[in-house]
Symmetry: D2
Subunit: 496 residues, 4 copies
């Protein structure tokens, strides 16, 4: 079939029979639910752009595996150039949606499991990589939308999986059968998973030998029996339920996350890509999260491009576009934003080729990129709220605006500069509200690793000994006897 | 009547007949509307505490004007000690509500108009101060809840009131009659105004001679004919409409703002306290906003105390309370927060007594305090979101939690440490969500002056010449001839 | 004798016979050494201002102990007002010197030992307080300059005093005789100690029972036999040795620190104020350092006033005084600076009276103040360097300026705006260089406690349980059973 | 001759007869002067590494111009890969020196003038590019060390060159002869110029038609008659004159800047590459400064690597290497530092090929990189001073350490952990002092453009209109009529 069209995607995705709860009620035709549809619309763009002449080169690539062009979101990265192109694609999509196309998660998962299964097989002569290649061929040929499914609920975060009071707080194998395995547990905050036809589950933490049952990776259709999805709320979710034209801020696209509950779900062996090899759990985690961190600088920069544009417009609408402090703040926002993008470009440019041939980003630089993503968008948002003015927290509802009694009062008194229609100003304020009070910043904070996780790994991947040699050489301090180097004086790595 | 009880307040406030629109519909019994009631509950505390033995001293004070104790919120500040006590009271109330008691605005307005009317009369032999004293006596004797009403819609912010294309974008006098005046216009984002029986309107900017019709201050009952109120939305308003127990985050108190539209409203002369004396507009603005800035360090510190407490609890519930980085971040939050409080204490301690005998805070230090309030709470909130974890943006709704089908799954999988009930963890997450994604930060940003307004005034009230003398003396540079001092070399003050 | 004159101070201080090494050589008449004299000139101001009509009220106070006015620097704080006045005095002196009058250390030491000896005696019936009162009377009557001497070298900072490999790395008692004690060890970086006639030694850390020999406080003349002083270098010290008029930046005042080595020095009993009562070591440390932290916000604000003034002037000399970004940066510098001052005012205003009647600042707020002092001056300095321009790191020497061959070239080409003499510009650049590249920031960082020490104590003195109660109340979470409160879930305090 | 050896460089550079003043005295054999020699030693490394097997590939490249390998520092960038390699080389050298090899300035100048002269000729049919190619061939064949010489004194910074009261405050042509031109003026703070055999002068600002005489670029030998050099002081320069082993901090390398005065200096036509074409001044400035900004992230990261290494060592020497807050701060330092490096990598990766075939970095991203360089190293230095401890500002001199009387006291009492010699600790403290109090940060602030210059250009090169289109599309706001787009509402670019 090759590269699907947008319509093919919509047709396929609407057919799925998933068990979903939203706000306390089971929902049918979930793809057209107002809390879901905007996010699926973002996903749909990945099909549309793959078919449009202007964007086709960026959104498709030749796959050696199937010998034909495939949608880039189901491709394997073979070169540094592939990594650089990925980053550009990611920013492009974020600029168009102000949110997310959801499809990078699967992309990163495919690359992580492809490369890790290769190395697992090499060590244990397991059949995971050949199975996975078959699976990937099917995915590429059918341009499937595959979700990357990682985070576990984790319960008491000071305890490893097997040490939890309730062993199900990390997804685990509860039964091994001839034909497959049975899994139980949950995956928390899975972004846009219902927009996908398939999901690819992975462990979410490094594991010790006693955590064997948690070392599991597999793929299943999203609407597999035994799986229940529950909608994860965000601060501005209700806005989407009101039936308004603009009070939701982003009038076209959206983002949501689901909790996924597995009540003893069966997985056939041909869909199992890791099963008990605990030492490879951390490789999957690092590869997936690393490729995801690689995106984050570009993705958040793309989202912030929208916010910066909106802020520039509201400054104009408020009549303050030429105030120096406003221009200075806009430049500050841009500088912070391009610093994020620089991170994604840089960690891509310094990537490496792993044994299976998969290109992955530079680890250290990707952790640094993500750490900055947990900080700079917050300052960008703060500046946007500053320039938007107090009305960002007090604007009457769209329903009031459309009410014949008070609508005219709003029309008159919410006017900014005379040349701009009141409704345009209201729309722009709502967009800024959405991007600064909604879920955007939370994703920047927690997606692909919270601040401390990044700091810990920056500590691990920094070659501090090299820096110490530079300093000793310049200060004229001789190298210590090897004894000393091993002594307690040498710092232990950063731990929580 | 003296100091009212909480019940007397509720009885009185429920009797008002105001014309209010919320989300496109006119609302009766507005005080019990879920979007309003939490805020009124905050206001009610100011009556309750004035009657409780443990808090009576903080919440009441002897008024020389009426010769009896009055609620502190209707008192005039006569000493530096009064200012210091105000700051403590304000933090106390914010700690109890996590929001606002709304009553400082009126307090600050009473002090601003009391002192300004005195100085206006002294210059122009106008009758404003004696009128206002009569009004204030009535307010004190009846423990009225009086709102301070300032901000105008402002239209094109690069233009002064009389230069706007629509002259009504600042509240103005459209007619002067024998018995009083008629006003037209609007006041935007008026916090908690419906919880009050009266409001005291003031100009919101300094005025030029041609802005004469905008130099107007007056008091009226909130339910005066001709006034329409429209609810100002905030990011998490719908949550209060769902009928849940905890999904709104703050289960007891709230905050809202109204747009107030004046369609040719009559004000009798005895309620008019400024009428055309443009030069005194800025004195009212500076006094009101200054006393309000004085509060802000303490008020936001009180609110952030709640957020810091919630963050400390969620760290425990997540099992990370003893991670060093968590403890370090909590200390950072506390340090930033006490810096805000220090600002309120300091600007109070360096206050001065104005000609009418009203004590006011130190201007320069109050601007600095407010500038910090536009920054530090954002960093505190960022750290709270960090420690709370990704679940802050993805937690299932309370309705799902109470659903018999998926409720048990949530109960099981949203558990943190084993000893803490899942519901407690969910409640705490909702509170953090509310305080970091809701209106709280927006109020810190824009209440009592946005960042640049504060910076401009810090520039104005800094004695830079004194600092230049210090530097010249130490560097051995002689004072320039007076000519030079007047030259263009000397910097002009900061302007937008 | 009462309050001394400046001349009496100079006469007295020049008579001292101290053993001092500077840059590898023993120095006579050390007070007139160019590395020392500027600092003594700062000290001399404390005598001058006490005798001048305009400043007498700020610099003197009635002492109940001797029944007459004394120099404020040898007084005991009896009221909150005394604390507030102290803060104002401290900023005033820093503004005049751009450096330090050195005399607060002794002031704070006198108050710390006075109040601690009272509480030690109350518990152990020791004679320390009465001895100290006699000492203090002598000090007050003779207006002695007394240094507060605390920091020990500390060797391996992970070990307590008695656990060090070399037991002398904290000052300690090596012999107890009938007539007194003998001490050995060192005190590191003692600011301006040679400007003093006396010093008052104190422990520098909290002690365990086995550290008994380190629990010692005593006073001695600065020129006591057995004590050797070695000059502590700072980045710009050589500049003072060049015999120039302005290349040292601050043309009048200075600052230095000495290492003080005690080679078995005898102290008679009447000068011993703590001797073995380990538990009171931490009280002295906290009182001294606390009163010193109280100063720091005001003192560094005063110093930064000079830097801000210099920056405002150099902006004018460079022709950029009216650039918006320059004005904005100057306001930012002022705002940060006043925030420091607010800290000192606030922690003073919330002080308390200890059992001996000594007023001390609020601990929590003083730690917060000092933490901010380790940060904000760095940003102020960064902005000063920004505005000063690249010449701050490349300006030819004053000797080149005075050279007949190249002097005219410098005169011509280092000109800024035409109206300002080149030399004025050069002087101002040198002052900014001195205040941003010299010792100023290092003192802000490390004086009265480094950042982490302050953070640790902010953690200790924050009432986190109170904040958790606020949060639980608002979220509707019941108090946990007392059992739970004691469990491991409750966070342990912050430690290194 | 091709690639020179280090010895050839030293031999050549010592032969120059320049007229130099340092600290008020004319100096012979300037290359061996202690204030100069460390910097020349850095330059010498560029020759050494070009000849060593391990580094030859990084330090040499084939030049199509001369058809042989040349030292990379005299090469023209032909590809993006060349730009990426440049960035790696720059960090490598900075890590080895802790300072600077000075040779990038010339490298960037050669590329800037090569490419600009090509475009000037294309427009005006001038002979500059062919002349320059001849010059470059000679430079490449002889591996000359060529300085890039740009910054003018600038006088009153609010005035353009021709508007200055003294027309010489920017270097200018004062006479045009048959054989060449005569120039007068000065170039300020020229880093390491005396280490070079040649210099290549360029204009430093964009010019208007009336500034014709200032549009001049040319090359001359450093020891040309009529040129006088005066040493630019830095905060720690005297340390290098004391004849110590380590009190200067960096025991091997250094950095200095000279003021260069031109008293009517003759330049033959074959060395003139721009002469009056004012519109191309800004192209030279942007190309040179842009390529220099490209270096800055890598160069400052390399220097900070040394500082971070030194801080890691001093933490060990102080016994605090395992304190969490120390490890956390070291990670913070690394993260900030890699963010700088990311900037250099990213702006290189997004470079473009200009008409002459010269590859240049992405402008926008290079401005962002440099803006970050004016900030992050300051925070890195602040953290280094924090961890180093108070001794950084009070350590006795090396001369005291070597004094037989007090040396033993210092040896004993300046000990940190028992296993590390006192002298090692002292050396490391001096290195940290040098890198945080010396010139390092000033170069980060002002080299290749001060903060506001970068912000202004970020404003100019940001495609804000594109971002506004994204926002309008998502908010559902139609594009304004073209009329409106041209109206005053559209913001004007950021200006001082």
């Amino acid at each position: 079939m090759g590269i699907r069209t947008e319509q093919q995607y919509w047709d396929s995705i609407r057919k799925q029979k998933t068990k979903v709860y939203i706000m306390g009620e089971q929902v049918e035709n979930v793809i057209d639910h107002p809390l879901i549809h905007g996010s699926a619309s973002g996903a749909a763009l990945t099909f549309r752009y793959a078919n449009e002449p202007a964007t086709r080169d960026l959104f498709t690539i030749h796959s050696p595996l199937v010998g034909e062009p495939v949608n880039r979101y189901v491709s394997i990265h073979n070169t540094i150039e592939d990594l650089m192109d990925k980053v550009k694609l990611v920013r492009f999509v974020a600029q168009k949606t102000g949110e997310c196309a959801q499809r990078c998660m699967g992309w990163d998962a495919l690359n992580a499991v492809y490369s890790t299964s290769y190395e697992t097989d090499r060590k244990y002569e397991t059949p995971y990589h050949s199975r996975f290649k078959e699976y990937l061929k099917w995915v590429q040929k059918n341009d499937m939308m595959v979700h990357g499914t990682m985070t576990d609920p984790r319960g008491d975060r000071s305890l490893k999986p097997a040490a939890q009071k309730d062993p199900d707080l990390y997804l685990r194998i509860v039964e091994r059968r001839k034909t497959g395995i049975v899994v139980r547990g949950a995956k928390s905050h899975q972004g846009g998973i219902l927009n996908h036809e398939e999901f690819l589950a992975m462990p979410s933490v490094s594991l010790r030998p006693e955590d064997k049952d948690y070392a599991v990776s597999f793929a299943l259709p999203v609407d597999t029996k035994g799986i229940t999805y529950v909608f994860g709320r965000h601060s501005m979710d209700d806005r989407l339920l009101e039936g308004n034209q603009f009070d939701m801020g982003n009038t076209k696209f959206g983002r949501y996350a689901m909790w996924v509950f597995f009540e003893d779900v069966f997985v056939p062996w041909e869909r199992v890509f890791l099963c008990g090899e605990t030492e490879f759990a951390s490789m999957i985690v690092e590869r997936f999260a690393g490729l995801h961190r690689q995106n984050y600088g570009a993705c958040s920069a793309g989202g912030m491009d929208v916010l910066i544009g909106a802020t520039s417009l509201i400054a104009e609408y408020n009549g303050i576009a030429n105030a120096f402090h406003v221009k200075d703040k806009l430049v500050e926002m841009c500088a912070l934003n391009e610093t994020l993008y620089q991170g994604s470009l840089a960690c891509s440019s310094q990537g490496e080729i792993t044994p299976s041939g998969v290109a992955v980003m530079n680890k250290l630089l990707s952790y640094v990129t993500k750490l900055n993503v947990t900080r700079f968008p917050y300052e960008i948002a703060r500046l946007a709220q500053d320039i938007c003015g107090g009305i960002i927290g007090t604007m009457p509802s769209e329903k009031d605006y459309r009410n014949p009694e008070v609508g005219p009062l709003i029309e008159k008194y919410l006017k900014g500069v005379a040349s701009v229609p009141t409704e345009h100003r209201m729309r722009m304020i709502r967009l800024i509200e959405r991007m600064t009070c909604g879920r955007t910043l939370l994703v920047c904070m927690h997606g692909a690793g919270s601040p401390f996780a990044n700091k810990m790994m920056i500590g691990r991947y920094t070659d501090m000994e090299e820096k110490r040699i530079f300093a000793r050489d310049i200060a004229g301090v001789p190298e210590p006897p090897s004894q000393a180097a091993l002594s307690s004086g040498s710092a232990k790595p950063l731990k929580p």
